[in-house]
Symmetry: C2
């Protein structure tokens, strides 16, 4: 038996590739996105009452990591990329059914020019992600602070100090969204998004991630991350 679903909406987010995306939602509140509802679900009647909720669940498709073959085990980044766990003991995007689940902050609901959009923050989803369902977050059901969670019991810590080169500072100052963007970049890089299993001793290596309309270039020097430039 197979079940088929059609997306109800699509996410417009700053994240244009998987590398560098926060590893869980709400870790970077500065990561903002819009969820555009697709017809026939772009009717405001279907959202009446949702404005009373501060957070929502999004059920979505890991559309860029869909694979033919499933693997029973994965190597979570937080275990240093060495230890394997079962795929169902992880939140890895590589799963038998590539369905994602994220709780995000609902900042507002826009209903303009016949389009309904949800304004979100704390997002950990790729630009273009298809969304299958939206549900309100209900703390008396969903919030279990005392739950035990094995290898994932502590949030990842900010471990790097982020500084910006003169060039990067100048580029940010030229943008309307410069201040906001500096804050977002700092939060993204202070957790060190590099894969744990790569050789981190190679300190002259320049890393890049696609963010909005530019490539963000940086390097790691000991405990510091230096943002080199924004390449348009």
């Amino acid at each position: 038996m197979t079940y088929s679903f059609t997306p109800i909406g699509v996410v417009h987010s700053p994240f244009r590739e998987k590398f560098g995306i926060p590893r869980q939602p709400l870790l970077v509140p500065e990561a903002k996105a819009k969820l555009e509802l697709l017809a026939p679900y772009d009717c405001i009647e279907a959202f009446v009452g949702l404005e009373e909720f501060s957070h929502i669940w999004l059920t979505f498709i890991f559309h860029q990591t869909m694979r033919e073959q499933w693997q029973p085990q994965v190597r979570p980044p937080r275990l240093g990329g060495n230890r394997r766990v079962g795929v169902f003991a992880s939140r890895s995007p590589f799963r038998p059914n590539p369905i994602g689940l994220s709780v995000v902050a609902l900042d507002g609901i826009s209903n303009q020019h016949g389009k309904v959009e949800l304004l979100l923050s704390g997002i950990d989803m790729l630009d273009g992600t298809p969304v299958l369902d939206i549900k309100p977050y209900i703390p008396y059901v969903d919030s279990i602070p005392e739950a035990s969670s094995g290898y994932a019991s502590e949030p990842p810590q900010a471990i790097k100090k982020v500084r910006f080169s003169e060039m990067a500072e100048a580029q940010l100052q030229q943008r309307d969204d410069g201040a906001e963007l500096k804050c977002l970049i700092t939060k993204l890089l202070e957790c060190d998004p590099r894969p744990a299993y790569k050789n981190r001793s190679q300190s002259d290596r320049i890393y890049g991630m696609r963010l909005y309309d530019f490539d963000l270039k940086w390097r790691v020097l000991g405990d510091e991350v230096e943002v080199i430039e924004l390449v348009i």
Copy 2:
């Protein structure tokens, strides 16, 4: 664009019909179930590490409430069945994509005779529910006690006292699972599962729900629920 999914498992629960099921997971910890993994997902390797987690998310299909037509608004039972809210401001099973989401307690993982089963409690799912995904519950991500949640900010209260007729008591005593079952029935009925919009003044009406292998018959007398009998 349409996405197709094949269930990875199926739930074996005491609830054989929608009426009477707890309205959210974990409200009735006595509600136990097994999740049977289907081939090729019934390999224990895919679950290594999951035993460290006390709770898991199940993404599942509302298989008995799938409809051709979606409605933009629903009437949540907790609003007395009168006020309408948008379907995306509710956890109603009647949704454009009939995907359910429940957090349940993981009591154990059984790996016997080449079958993998997860032992669950606090279940709010119908017997036979197809499961699409299992994810560990991670409190630092999923637990947001301070989230605001509008009309759903308080758990439903136990509002009825439940007592058992002599016949029901005798029937329970004959069963191996009698003590457990009495506890489950009490928890299920003390929240008064009757639909809010039905005429509740009709006190001589006998209600029934299918539970395990019997029909549970009860009636409401003021602030009390009387369990009449278990009809095999």
